[in-house]
């Protein structure tokens, strides 16, 4: 399991990062925090709104 340092070409691609698009991830986390009873998981839990 695992790779050698010279085998990381694909893993270093931007589209292979765990969070490819931080803005989109933050947007989704905020929407779902506002509309559902679960939050977080990927990073820290939601918060910072008195969402109605």
């Amino acid at each position: 399991m695992g790779v050698q340092p010279w085998e990381r070409e694909i893993l270093a691609r931007e589209d292979m990062q765990l969070t490819t698009d931080p803005l989109e991830a933050a947007t989704d986390d905020h929407i779902y925090f506002s509309k559902e009873a679960s939050s977080g998981g990927r990073g820290f839990g939601g918060g910072g709104c008195g969402c109605n």
Partner: protein
Amino acid sequence: MDSAAAAAGATDMTAKTRKERSVSATLAAATCALLGSTAAAPVDAQEEPKWDFNTSLLYYGEDENRVQDVSLKSIIRRLFTDDRALTLGLTVDTLTGATPSGAIRQDVPQSFTRPSGISSYDVPAGELPLDDTFKDTRVAITAGWQQPAGEKGLLSVGFSASKEYDYLHTGVNASYAHDFNNRNTTVSAGFAFASDSIEPVGGAPIPLTNMLDVGDTSNRVGDQDKDVLDVVFGVSQVISKNLLVQANYSFSQSDGYLNNPYKVLSMVDSVTGDTLTRTPGIEGGPSGLFLFESRPDERTQHSVYTQAKYFMNGKVLDASYRYMTDDWEIDSHTLDVRYRWPIGDSSYIEPHVRYYTQTEAEFYRLSLVDDSLVPLPQFASSDYRLGNFDAITAGLKYGWKTRNDNDMSIRVEWYTQSGTVPAGQLIGNQASRDNYPDLNALIVQFSYRFSR
């Protein structure tokens, strides 16, 4: 979610960090200039200072004139030497629209006092009571600093704050990630602490007291607050050249005022299930008995999140699953799958499907029953977000590189919620009504990203 962007899983950062390491090692001169430092800088700078600007415009709109949000978000990341990075985020939301008040439908018109207590609004017979007073602007900022700690560690600290008319959030967070096993394994631990204050319009109502006539504020008290502590432990593992997996455990503890100060429950007849009526005051007021909701003042959540990224001959599969359980007896499952499909060298499409399901909180009630033999429960809420529902998101994203090598993307998604009230809670006429406020929303987001 304020801390997400800055702290989107410490484990995420390491792969990118490795990539940036070679770049950042050459940025010392620029760093010193920015920091106003006079220290001598390494002279092997060959690349320009690196800024990463990420901006998006979001439209979120629910049907039936419910919540509409136009949101501008920016994340600016400045990379310094030695893998140090500063990340600043700004979000401005403009919210309007109507939101379910928590009261049930009736076969006759209903009236309600607005949260401000200074006027009232009417709801036609047969319609779901929506409070259309909702209008707010939200400004949120984040700041994060990241730097190596030893040869294989990465330390991140952050700050977040947001302000709405009736809500102030401030928070700090920190996390540490450590690489092992020839950098194939990354273990991380982090925490976030938030201290929020809630200043409800018209004052926070005393839980389980009646909505009063216009002008009567005798059941309103002052501002409230709550604290939230989040702790996250994570591990990410490179499986092969094409496969990366991650698993996180999260713990979240909320203490303080966890009510929604604007939500009520209808008090109903124990036989007909219809709302008990009253005569509104001269200046207006509720036409029925509506009691402000009451939630426990603490909540503990546990969740497990797993994610895999798999590269398949140019295409990338991103799949994640989350299980959450809490001491309000809500359990939820979330499955999220994205598939990034390149079109030529400079663009891609990405279909996205998300499925979410949750059980209701133990104190979820469609309504409260007027029964002299049965006391009111200590806790009760009819907030649909604490109910039993499923939600599906389906969307498509298209991304492309501009001539200047900048990234643009647009995504369009549909979000739909459909819930059910436990059959045992339906009384009399309620059984023939549509009780759960199903939700349909359109999400459109345009993003632009460039580096300098």
